[in-house]
């Protein structure tokens, strides 16, 4: 056993046999990628053959912990779920919080890797000894909500903490998520990966304390960080939560509206965070081990259970679909959470379908028939469609369960030009034409359009760049934003803590030294951030990535924004291509964006690992 932060092993569970074995995790690997998304990307690459089907038995789902989970550091109760996305065919990682992460780590594990396929619908129970695959016919195919399934599991196995898929995961909806204790690893269809393995839930139980190399120093840092986490830098999250973004984005004409046909929404006042707080606030919550508490709950109707709302749910199920009725948006968000589907992809795919319906693009027959009353603003219709998608129970539901990219290919005609995705992943709530450094971050993102793996919007909001132009300078900001996000997600700490840290890399290195006893330095962590991006890119290259994928849908180059403070803004194709080239150069990639052969050679032994 080393000094701290790691248990130096992961658990590989073969669901087909079934069997479980502990696999050692060497110090080189830990130093190279720290943990979380970095460790997850490495283990995914090591545990899978090239060209595997993300929904086939060769697929792996990795649950990767960081070195900080289980320590007293605020916001550290997190883990990363990592797999090849059935939505994009590229790497996908989703972070989630809660006591599930702590219990999994305290089972004496730095990661859990599921491979193979269970013979029948099952749950996987993990503890300090290993894992058991237990058939669960009473839970599968029963149409339980996530809450109902979680409650049943909690009663049957009170000592375990569970991550669960909903009906959408069982039906292999390509953007089904994994839920645990009210949190969601939402993006990229990780729930479908689990569903394809016939695994309804993963239960973890553990009581081994996470070793601390220097307990006193760790406690000192934890106290200081907790104090700073309650300062002005996080006031927004505590006072309003991320729903506060909506009114500002609307004013800056950066609020995606009606499937990105506009960037201001005339009904924004009805659903903005400030209004929700004034009329519907029902209290606040937080992830386990978090001092900030950014979760805000809102009343749907008197007497009903309040619903947690975040900006991404609000924009995707509201303005993006032309819906300004707060009750409908709250109900839709709750439905997505209970069915187990990603709100951004659900909203994006439905908004795309609404535009197809308004333009009369669905082929005559069952699809056109079903889409007859589908229009922007049709809230009740959207609520029904969410259920149809999650259960794949109607022709339109089945089509949209495939995501906007595949749906557009089937609809044909001009549909692919306005399907709102990058690499198949629906675009989050940042209008690319109004925030063009973010647009670059979306285009080059390894998991597709992604505001969590690239916080490049910060440059757009900083005044350091012209937000209506992607430039070579944007490339520097995009690389820096990716590196920082990669390290936060490797540690893993919540991104909402970032502004409470003055010197992110320096402070992170200090935390790592205290917890692990390893001599991490700030400069080394910057390199770790870059390395994690390269590991992800190498995985994507192995799985067929081509440079043509690093782009945006044609709409963003061909249509200008129609109104508001960004009226007339569009993305210049040549200028954007130049900023992508500048990104490649900064990232150390070749002209076309591939990892250079000599770099790949240097990383080969890290990628391969010692264990296979």
């Amino acid at each position: 056993m080393g000094r701290g932060g790691y248990f130096e092993r992961y658990l590989r569970v073969d669901l087909g046999r079934p069997s479980a074995e502990h696999v050692p995790l060497d110090e080189t690997t830990r130093r190279a990628v720290v943990g979380g998304v970095g460790l997850g990307a490495l283990l995914l690459t090591r545990e899978t053959p090239p060209g595997f089907d993300p929904l086939g038995p060769e697929a792996a789902l990795v649950l990767a912990f960081g070195p900080l989970v289980g320590t007293p550091l605020t916001t550290s109760a997190k883990l990363a779920f990592v797999a090849k996305s059935p939505l994009t065919g590229r790497i996908s990682d989703g972070l989630s919080s809660s006591s599930f992460a702590i219990a999994g780590k305290r089972a004496g594990l730095d990661a859990i890797v599921l491979v193979g396929e269970a013979a029948e619908p099952s749950i996987v129970l993990v503890d300090e000894e290993g894992a058991e695959v237990v058939p669960c016919p009473e839970l599968w195919g029963r149409d339980f909500t996530i809450s109902e399934a979680s409650e049943r599991l909690g009663k049957a196995y009170p000592e375990h903490r569970f991550a669960v898929i909903g009906v959408a995961g069982e039906r292999l909806v390509r953007y089904a998520g994994i839920a645990n204790e009210g949190r969601h690893a939402g993006r990229g269809g990780l729930g479908a990966v689990l569903g394809a393995k016939r695994v309804k839930a993963i239960g973890v139980r553990g009581s081994r304390p996470v070793p601390l190399a220097d307990a006193e120093a760790t406690l000192g840092i934890a106290k200081d960080l907790a104090r700073r986490s309650l300062g002005p830098a996080t006031e927004k999250y505590r006072a309003l939560g991320t729903v506060a973004n909506l009114s500002t984005f609307n004013r800056l004409a950066a609020l995606p509206t009606r499937n990105f046909q506009a960037s201001t929404f005339e009904e924004a006042r009805k659903i903005e965070g400030e209004a929700l707080h004034e009329t519907r606030a029902q209290g606040r919550g937080s992830c386990k081990s978090c001092t900030i508490g950014c979760e805000h709950f809102f009343e749907v109707r008197p007497g009903q259970r309040p619903v947690k709302m975040e900006y991404e749910n609000l924009f995707a199920l509201g303005p993006l679909c032309g819906i300004g009725d707060p009750e409908v948006v709250l109900r839709a968000s709750s439905a997505c959470d209970e069915l187990g589907i990603d709100t951004i992809s659900a909203g994006g795919t439905i908004a795309f379908a609404m535009e197809c319906a308004e333009r009369g693009l669905f082929p005559a027959g069952p699809l056109a028939e079903e889409a007859r009353d589908l229009r922007f603003g049709a809230g009740e219709r959207m609520l029904v469609l969410l259920e149809d998608i999650a259960r794949r129970r109607t022709p339109l539901g089945r089509l949209l369960a495939e995501g906007s990219r595949r749906a557009a290919e089937i609809v044909g005609g001009e549909a692919p030009s306005f399907a709102p995705h990058v690499k198949g992943m629906e675009i989050p709530g940042y209008e690319p034409r109004a925030l063009q450094t973010m647009a670059l971050g979306f285009a080059v993102g390894t998991r597709g359009a992604d505001h969590n793996r690239s916080g490049a919007y910060e440059a757009d909001f900083s005044g350091k760049v012209n937000r209506f132009e992607a430039s070579e300078e944007s490339a520097a900001h995009a690389v820096a934003a990716e590196d920082r996000a990669a390290v936060m997600d490797a540690l893993i700490l919540c991104k909402f803590l970032r502004r409470a840290m003055e010197d992110f890399f320096g402070e992170s290195a200090e935390m790592l030294r205290a917890v692990t006893g390893l001599p991490f330095e700030a400069e080394e962590l910057v390199r770790v951030g870059g390395r994690i991006t390269l590991v992800r890119r190498l995985f994507n290259e192995r799985e067929g990535w081509t440079p043509a994928e690093d782009t945006l849908p044609a709409r963003f180059f061909e249509e200008k924004l129609p109104g508001g403070a960004a009226k007339g803004a569009g993305i210049d194709r040549e200028g954007f291509a130049r900023s992508i080239k500048a990104y490649h150069a900064r990232r150390g990639l070749d002209e076309r964006g591939f990892v250079p052969a000599e770099v790949a050679r240097d990383m080969a032994s890290l990628i391969r690992g010692k264990n296979r």
Partner: protein, 86 residues
């Protein structure tokens, strides 16, 4: 007159959505804002400057913290939190 629009935390703290001030530059406008809304002092504006993490979007378009930015009749200063995005 110049209009200052408040969103999010700034709106909550000030208890109002807009403030009209007489100002010829962004610096002037922020001094007037601090005087009109003491609840914003230190956290959002500090002695005529923007507190760390706060910027403005002039007429909702370009984002700046440059106090010398000239303002004219009818200009709108949108106060923006730098972590507007999440």
């Amino acid at each position: 007159m110049v209009t200052i629009e408040l969103y999010g935390v700034a709106r909550l703290r000030a208890g109002r959505e807009v403030i009209e001030v007489d100002a010829r530059s962004l610096g002037d406008a922020l001094v007037a804002l601090g005087a009109a809304c003491p609840a914003l002092e230190r956290v959002i504006v500090a002695g005529g400057r923007l507190a760390p993490g706060w910027l403005v979007a002039l007429n909702g378009a370009q984002i700046t913290a440059d106090l010398a930015t000239p303002l004219g009749e009818g200009d709108v200063v949108v106060l923006v939190s730098a972590d507007a995005g999440g």
